[in-house]
Amino acid sequence: MNAPAYNFAYLDEQTKRMIRRAILKAIAIPGYQVPFASREMPMPYGWGTGGVQVTAAILGPQDVLKVIDQGSDDTTNAISIRKFFAKTAGVATTTATEDATVIQTRHRIPETALHANQVLVYQVPIPEPLRFLEPRETETRRMHALAEYGLMHVKLYEDIARFGHIATAYAYPVKVNARYVMDPSPTPKFDNPKMDNCPALQLFGAGREKRI
């Protein structure tokens, strides 16, 4: 039998290079969803594979990794992902925000202010903010290209007309650099202001949907 052997941080170097290229493009065009050839990871889709691939692609041996899930370091999935990188990359892990160089998160942003040499990696289930207004990718990509966000404004307006409030409490859409509207993952709305002008680099990975 071919005994399985795995690379540093699980992914092979070719795959990491492909992901890093997508990350560079994503940084250059903030808010734009860059398609990438997402791989099957040893944890299920929908359990943070996008974040895990981004983390695997940027992680170096000197990095210190923190993983949070719904704001906690010791919920089951956070433990599982932290152990995965401790095992496959041998990196140091921490639960202290200030000690971490890479923080992978599911749906919360740490209360401690982040600084410039930190990277916050978000796990994103559905990156397309327009998905529930228009299910077709061909349509939504056209709408982004034309910056045609009327549908979103109408949705928010209808919420106010019907409920008196915008009835979106998490996965609240954001507009990045006055151009692209994106879904910052199901982060609660009250965390969104922490994203604005954050000194740390914020990367968003969606594995199943194959977008960074």
Binding site: E40, P44, Q70, G71, T75, T76, E137
Partner: protein, 367 residues
Amino acid sequence: MYVAVKGGERAIENAHRLLAHARRGDQGVAEISLDQISEQLGLAVDRVMSEGSLYDRELAALAIKQARGDLIEAIFLVRAFRATLPRFGAGEPVDTGAMRVRRRVSATFKDIPGGQILGPTFDYTHRLLDPALADGFVPEAPAAAEASTAPTPRVTDILGRDGLIESSPQAEDGASVGDLTREPLNFPADRDLRLQNLARGDEGFLLAMGYSTQRGYGRNHPFVGEIRFGEVEVELFAEDVGFAVPLGSIALTECQMVNQFKGSATEAPCFTRGYGLAFGQSERKTMSMALVDRALRARELGEEALAPAQDEEFVMSHSDNVQATGFVEHLKLPHYVDFQSELGLLRKLRKEFAEANTPDAMREAAE
């Protein structure tokens, strides 16, 4: 207030230890070997290889054993391993016309060159539970005859000679084949990527989509031109030596559906094609795949595309069982924060509703 439940590291470790124990079952019962799985649950191994996109019987058997017989879990294990493998190159197109045929049936012609060969099949069996199989069953030796040397050309090639079926589109020489595991998928997708997606797609999903076309949702009048199962040679063009070298042989099932005509003022009417291919013996899968492939060609053939099976984005985005099971099952993960914020909003809305609907408020509104 709901408080996040902390899932301790030890709880996870203990759960996995218990899983290993449950996987082994009663230790008074002999452990199942990979050979036993590969030999006696061969069709399960075929499915895991096909949908796992990795032709390795031993690893597929290991995955089935590790997954406790849960085939989607086994497919997932194989995929996750496959994703880490380096690519040396792409094999030469296999010639299914030169297949060493173990089974071959056509529903369009009774007499086909090379003959029909039923081979090992459940077709025509009576589905009666057989108590004799429960223990110590020794099957009769199979009937044997001299192997025929007659060639077994593909039925669709025979139809093609008379122009009765559209010709199979040929790729340009040296054109590379798309690979959705290496490049992100964009819509509309070319047929090579569609076929790759369907080949990896969930058998049950494709079965249901194919079935829906038979029931009027995108009907395309299919006939089984041919199903063949057997071994084909795999070759790789080696740059160093300048010719294709054989790597070995693999078992494949191929289904070619012959479907309703197309034609126009300038083109004589002819049958159209739907294509299915899978590792091992996977007839249900390849037949379903061929039906869906044909349905997805609606736009290309100028047909109205209204049914789900004709909707490329719908089919291709939901066919992959590893993606689907992951996202459905992620609902088990804690959603305390999201739920908490929904709850907060709902309470606020209910409070406002109650205030607006007090008897006093109602009376004011009425006046």
